[in-house]
Amino acid sequence: MREHQEERIEQLLRETLQPINGRAGAELRGDLWPAMLKRLEARPAQVPWFDWALLGAVIAWLLFFPGAIPVLVYHL
């Protein structure tokens, strides 16, 4: 009984979604390389080493002087 129900569900699913083959959009129509190139060129800008050094210095400063956190927050 349950097996029959499951077969029916599989059939319902096939009829509802229908295989992609033969439908519009089943095959890629154009060349996606230009879009790929755009994506490659839009790589996020590199963070300069100086910014990383500054961030490290601030973290070290806050570790040694935790009392300075409210002062920093106030100035942000």
């Binding site: 499951e6 319902l12 699913l13 509802t16 992609i20 519009a24 959009g25 996606l32 879009a35 790929m36």
Partner: protein, 179 residues
């Protein structure tokens, strides 16, 4: 799905981050990758974006590729992950639109109401189960191929399909459809 092969030197150059080698691989595999993704997401526009996203991930992972292995299955696995991520995001962002199946021809075998209820029940499945059920039951892809693309065993694929069908049965019953 056809298994495309490529010269080992292209793969070696790709591993070194050579853009020309990447372009050669892209042009050779874009259709296959798109075809796989569109079977999962069932939306040509999203599949095109995801094909580019897949190759972007492939390009970033070039150093991790083993040139002794085949490029196609590796690309398909990355494509499957990208499609899964898309399904997870789409599930969070949209409140179950009714145009998922978008069949070109209405299926005469079932009523429109049952079709919509089935589509709604299907969209409520966890994305991992959706992928397994679509590829296995609708697209009738070999279990071995699905397993490779998902990075799991064929037994695990069968379990996912079984769970998907069981949840669909319960969900359809809840909606008043007696399969």
């Amino acid at each position: 799905m056809p298994v495309l092969t490529q010269p080992i030197d292209v793969l070696l150059r790709f591993c070194d981050g050579d853009l020309d080698a990447f372009e050669a691989l892209f042009r050779q595999h874009q259709r296959e990758v798109y075809g796989w993704i569109v079977r999962i997401v069932r939306d040509p526009a999203a599949a095109e974006d995801l094909t580019v996203e897949t190759f972007w991930r492939i390009y970033r992972a070039h150093a991790r590729f083993d040139p002794a292995r085949s490029f196609g299955p590796w690309a398909r696995r990355i494509a499957t992950n990208a499609a899964l991520d898309h399904l997870k995001t789409a599930r969070r962002e949209t409140e179950l639109p009714d145009d998922l199946s978008s069949p070109l021809l209405p299926e005469p075998g079932i009523s429109e109401e049952i079709r919509q209820k089935t589509a709604r029940a299907f969209r409520r499945l966890p994305p991992k189960l959706q992928v397994a059920a679509t590829l296995a039951l609708v697209e009738e892809q070999p279990y071995k191929e699905i397993a490779e693309a998902l990075g799991i065993s064929t037994g695990a694929v069968k379990l996912r399909v079984f769970r998907a069908v069981r949840i669909l049965r319960k969900e359809l019953k809840r909606q008043g459809v007696e399969p």
